[in-house]
Subunit: 137 residues, 2 copies
Amino acid sequence: MIIPETHSDLLALPLLAHVATLGTQGEPQVNPVWFAWDGQYIKLTLTRHRQKYRNLERDPHIALSIVDPENQFRYLELRGVVEQVEDDHDLAFINGLAQRYIGRDYPWHRPDEQRIILYIRPLHSSMMNAGRRTSGK
Amino acid sequence: MIIPETHSDLLALPLLAHVATLGTQGEPQVNPVWFAWDGQYIKLTLTRHRQKYRNLERDPHIALSIVDPENQFRYLELRGVVEQVEDDHDLAFINGLAQRYIGRDYPWHRPDEQRIILYIRPLHSSMMNAGRRTSGK
């Protein structure tokens, strides 16, 4: 099983995921994002003009790192690929995320930006618990 | 200036940095680590047998993401390269890190592991403040 039961709680909480993609020269890039987990896909919000989206158009490989806020030695890393991209027409997805993370609709939307939803299929996980690392495929 | 003054405080605190490297297939990988900043280099501890070290031997490009624990919209991303690797002979570096992060010497050292210090030169930064992204070179 790719998502270990011992760490699945981290996907149910409104935590930040640090998301790594590949830049134009194939170099790693990483930054924190909101996410949702539907039991099959990790879902992220982006806009089409953002560098991270252009990165993922070139190369769909992506990795996410999520730490237990109450225990810095307990974390989950997921690696996978973007399998699907959908328009977030009515902003339902980003507003749902914002409600979960900040308790209100997303306040920074600009009408000229096209919001999209990325569907990421996890293919590999690695976990740490108190200095001990394991992995799942 | 690569490290912006507005975000340099994040390098002075014992925060986790989420570090992205490239795996054997050139795919991104990411996980949380301790770090130290000496004004010139971001310094990390590793062991020579760890996958992250093998990744960096193949490709020295690396990126780090650090979030303000009091404000999830304020973060610093650094991209750079590993410029130097040193043995941590007497464990002075990792024990200093552990003192800073958990208030005691590193408790999980195994005598059969060779601890090393990575010196990372930041070449590019990007920052976010309340939904507004900027960058520095």
